[in-house]
């Protein structure tokens, strides 16, 4: 059986709930003591830690949003002094400032073991060669999978992103057996191999672990055919821990949430009320083991539903459905989280005032592309050609600084972007996933 931690992954519901309650109470005691933000929020609602006597009481506690994290930028939500933090990662916030996540030594170890769970479920063993085609840096993806693979004892090829032909060369020569990337990049690899006339069956590749962006069953079968592998899904969120919140088992009927470390709830994104089991809604997560950056009822903004029925694989942990959408306007471009508000900030900043614009997202081949179309305003029109060009450059640069991705920027005639009821649809997402 491919189970990394049977004690926790196959725990009975009864024992799990006891463990969750203990860890929840300990976490609440810690954040109440160490994090000003939570103490203030609890006080406003007149809640003391002793009010939480069951898992159901969780719903008495306030929800935590990205805005809360932004207000406490950068380290305000940490529950330990900074010198106990051994790692810092970050991901996009809604504004120009990112969200910062810290890890203690224990956090890193727990994280590695959580990732090892879904890697093991995907049949990765110590005999495997894992090619990590995620970007190494502030993003959590690459490091999470890297540590997970090392914990299992597999060999890691820390490839990073880009340079598709070199990826393929290494895949062929080093005989990688496992691919870690975004699903769209896996497709890109498949297309490129077809173009180069490489038979995927000639590779040693057998498994792909894909995450970082939403994908579909259609994409899965396309990847599985194009690369001749078994493609599995996993779920993570930088603020919470990175990859390792949930992962698919061999049944591929939903992703098991590692409930001994994360307590999931489904809420109505509009009212914030907890929805009955099985209903679709926004996923809310409370961390149960995190030391440096614990989160109480964090709104993931991802839409899914939970299934508590036992799974054929033997794991007792709840399964979440593939993410079906977002309850905010965040875009995921090539695995990077981008908020329209960030783009607006870049455009208005460069234009030194409001300028009508539209964000156009498309999928060209397998890869996402983002184009920002700006209407010429009088102010921009009056500029010389040279200055117009430098204006475009500066928008591009600002977008890249804030979001970390490259966007195409072009100017169009005034009033040429179609309007509905006099308003421009600011985001036009033409992707079919």
């Amino acid at each position: 059986m491919n189970i990394w931690d049977p004690t926790h992954e196959c725990i009975s519901r009864d024992e799990l709930e006891q463990l969750q309650l203990e860890r929840l109470q300990a976490t609440i005691n810690r954040v109440h003591k160490n994090v000003v933000h939570y103490r203030k929020k609890f006080n406003e609602l007149g809640i003391i830690p002793e009010d939480i006597v069951s898992l159901e009481d969780l719903s008495k506690l306030p929800l935590t949003s990205k805005d809360d994290i932004n207000c406490n930028y950068p380290y305000g939500m940490f529950a330990v002094p900074l010198r106990e933090v051994v790692r810092i990662h970050s991901s996009s916030g809604t504004g120009s400032k990112p969200m910062v996540a810290g890890y203690t030594k224990n956090d890193i170890r727990i994280w590695s073991n959580l990732v090892a769970r879904f890697m093991t479920a995907a049949s990765v063993t110590r005999d495997d060669l894992v090619q990590v085609a995620f970007h190494y840096g502030l993003f959590t993806g690459a490091f999470g999978l890297h540590y997970g693979a090392e914990t299992i004892g597999a060999s890691v090829i820390p490839m990073g992103t880009g340079n598709t032909e070199r990826q393929i060369m290494i895949m062929q020569d080093y005989k990688s057996t496992v691919l870690v990337s975004t699903p769209s990049y896996a497709l890109e690899l498949a297309y490129r191999m077809e173009h180069l006339g490489i038979n995927p069956k000639s590779l040693s590749l057998k498994v792909g672990l894909f995450g970082g962006e939403p994908w579909s069953e259609n994409m899965r079968s396309e990847i599985e055919q194009g690369l001749a592998i078994n493609a599995t899904d996993n779920y993570g969120l930088s603020e919470i821990i990175g990859p390792g919140i949930a992962g698919e088992c061999s049944c591929k009927k939903g992703l098991h949430i590692y409930e001994d470390a994360f307590l999931p709830e489904i809420i109505d994104p509009d009212t914030g009320k907890v929805l009955p089991t099985g209903t679709e809604g926004e996923l809310v997560i409370t961390t149960l083991t995190k030391e440096a950056f614990p989160l109480i009822r964090y709104r993931t903004r991802d839409i899914t539903s939970l299934n508590y029925k036992p799974c054929d694989c033997g794991r007792t942990l709840v399964r979440m459905k593939r993410i079906s959408g977002r309850s905010d306007d965040m875009l995921i471009i090539r695995g990077v989280n981008v908020y329209p508000s960030q783009i607006e900030e870049a455009v208005y900043g460069a234009a030194q005032g409001e300028a009508p614009y539209q964000i156009l997202v498309e999928r060209i081949g397998a890869m996402d592309s983002m184009e920002v179309i700006i209407e010429v305003t009088d102010k921009i029109f009056s500029l010389e050609l040279q200055k117009q060009r430098s204006f475009l450059e500066s928008v591009k640069k600002r977008i890249n600084t804030i979001t970390g991705i490259h966007a195409y920027v072009k100017l169009v005639e005034a009033k040429s972007i179609p309007r509905q009821d006099g308003k421009i649809k600011k985001v036009l997402d033409k992707r079919h996933i």
Partner: protein, 247 residues
């Protein structure tokens, strides 16, 4: 085997345990870490029925024991080794042990059973066999601690509660006692809840641990995790020499 949910214990007006939830699996060694006055001993006393909790639930092998009297809890298989040993000093070692087996005197062939258990205790602590006729008050601190543990074992507990077994003892003796405790779990499959000032030593033999702070549990984790935790290190493990040098 043991499952505690939300117990609250008071000493008069003092709220000593606040919503404590904790569990022990069969055969586990779990240690409670915390400063003086955090509520560690109170937790043991609440378990054994000496200071019953005001609210909450204690399940021992699915039996609710939070309303039971102390002697009934012993009968179910929970024995406590009290802080400061509390042996009966004017009695001999053997008599002390027999008192630990008072439950057996009500049953048929109880006497034979007590003999058997006593033999087991003497095998664990051979020094007690040598001293069996001696008055408990004349034993050294370490020997008294062994006797206190032996006395608790005479009731053949399934869960043993140990309160500060290393208190006031020489490091060599502490090593010996902790080794016996580890053996009890490994060989006799006794489940152990261990309260220890010497957190480092306790975490070395424990599987898991909980950290208590002013009556509240603030951390649960494996022994390795707690050893790595900076809060635990700073508050309960003492500074390493190296760290002092660096300052």
């Amino acid at each position: 085997m043991l499952r505690i949910k939300n117990i609250n214990t008071y000493y008069g007006q003092v709220h000593a345990l606040k919503n404590v939830s904790l569990h022990l699996a069969e055969g586990e060694i779990v240690t409670l870490i915390g400063a003086n006055g955090a509520g560690k001993t109170t937790l043991l006393n609440s378990l054994s029925g000496i200071v019953p909790p005001k609210s909450g639930q204690i399940l021992f092998n699915d039996t609710e024991i939070n309303h039971l009297e102390a002697h009934k809890i012993v009968r179910l298989g929970v024995s406590q080794v009290p802080e400061g040993r509390q042996v009966f000093k004017p009695l001999s070692v053997e008599d002390n042990l027999e008192l630990g087996a008072y439950l057996n005197y009500r049953v048929k062939d109880g006497k034979a059973q007590s003999k058997k258990y006593m033999g087991m205790v003497y095998d664990l602590f051979p020094i007690l066999r040598q001293r069996r006729k001696q008055l408990a008050g004349t034993l050294s601190g370490g020997e008294q601690q062994m006797l206190a543990i032996g006395r608790a074992l005479m009731a053949k507990p399934r869960l043993l509660l140990l309160d500060e077994p290393s208190m006031g003892l020489a490091p060599m003796i502490v090593q010996e006692i902790l080794k016996v405790i580890a053996d009890l779990s490994r060989e006799k499959k006794t489940t152990l809840l261990l309260v220890e000032q010497n957190a480092r030593a306790a975490l070395k033999i424990a599987h898991r641990g909980y950290v208590l702070e002013t009556g509240r549990l603030i951390l649960e984790g494996t022994a390795d995790e707690l050893l790595e935790n900076k809060d635990v290190q700073r508050a309960y493990l003492g500074r390493d020499k190296k760290e002092i040098w660096e300052r």
